[in-house]
Amino acid sequence: MISIYITAFIVGGLICVIGQLLMDVAKLTPAHTLVSLVVAGSVLDGIGWYEPFIDFAGAGATIPITSFGNALTHGAMAEAEKHGLIGVVTGMFEVTSSGISAAIIFGLIGALLFTSKGNV
């Protein structure tokens, strides 16, 4: 039970280290880095590695942005499994991620509540 916290910390930290290396060594912009990680999460789910990875690391695998690609791919593949090729197309309209909905809702609430400040 406790070990899940250690694996979450270490795995989550390591995914961020990959992101930092993409920015500092590969000289990618933050946007390119995040997109690369999302695509990586999607591909990893396609070959069936991401789910066991979540079982191992818990939030260490679901909190980094890679899980976003995983969630979307997982939804699309579940539909494809049920309905075949046409399921890939129809499934695309059903997949979503709680991250997007939450970001939209809280983005609007944030805009209502706050004003940006130009401090250091």
């Binding site: 039970m1 406790i2 070990s3 899940i4 916290y5 250690i6 694996t7 789910e51 066991p52 990875f53 079982d55 191992f56 997982h74 579940a78």
Partner: protein, 130 residues
């Protein structure tokens, strides 16, 4: 850095106290020995809580840290073996900590009232997983 090391020490201490083994509560006339045998034979399992009630067998298991990668197949494997041992029982095995937690709660519960309802609920939660 200092905060982190304190955190790691606390986590390390907590890890040392976590429980191990197989706990079985049997409210039926079934023989529970082979349950323990099946579960303990699996080297990946660290902790298991099992409840036998009427025609239900509910098992929540926890696997070793690095076995978590295969925890779903470990649970399926144990389920298959138990099904062979107890062909007339409805068997639910899960490596999800929620199932372990709920099974444990049921085991601790005094009366056998609502058992069936609770077991059905746990089974439905378990099914929700994709």
């Amino acid at each position: 850095m200092k905060k982190l090391s304190i955190l790691l020490i606390i986590l390390g201490l907590l890890t040392g106290c976590s429980e191990k083994g197989t706990y079985i509560k049997n409210t039926t006339s079934q023989d529970e020995n082979s349950v323990e045998k099946v579960i303990m034979n699996n080297e990946h399992v660290k902790l298991a809580k099992v409840l036998l009630f009427e025609d239900e067998l509910l098992a929540g298991i926890r696997v070793n840290t690095f076995s978590r990668f295969q925890k779903k197949s470990i649970a399926t494997d144990i389920k298959k073996k138990l099904e062979k041992e107890y062909p007339d029982l409805k068997i639910t095995v899960s490596a999800d900590s929620k199932i372990l937690l709920e099974t444990e709660k049921l085991i601790r519960k005094k009366g056998e009232k609502d058992y069936q309802k609770k077991i059905d609920k746990i089974k439905s939660i378990e099914k929700e997983q994709t």
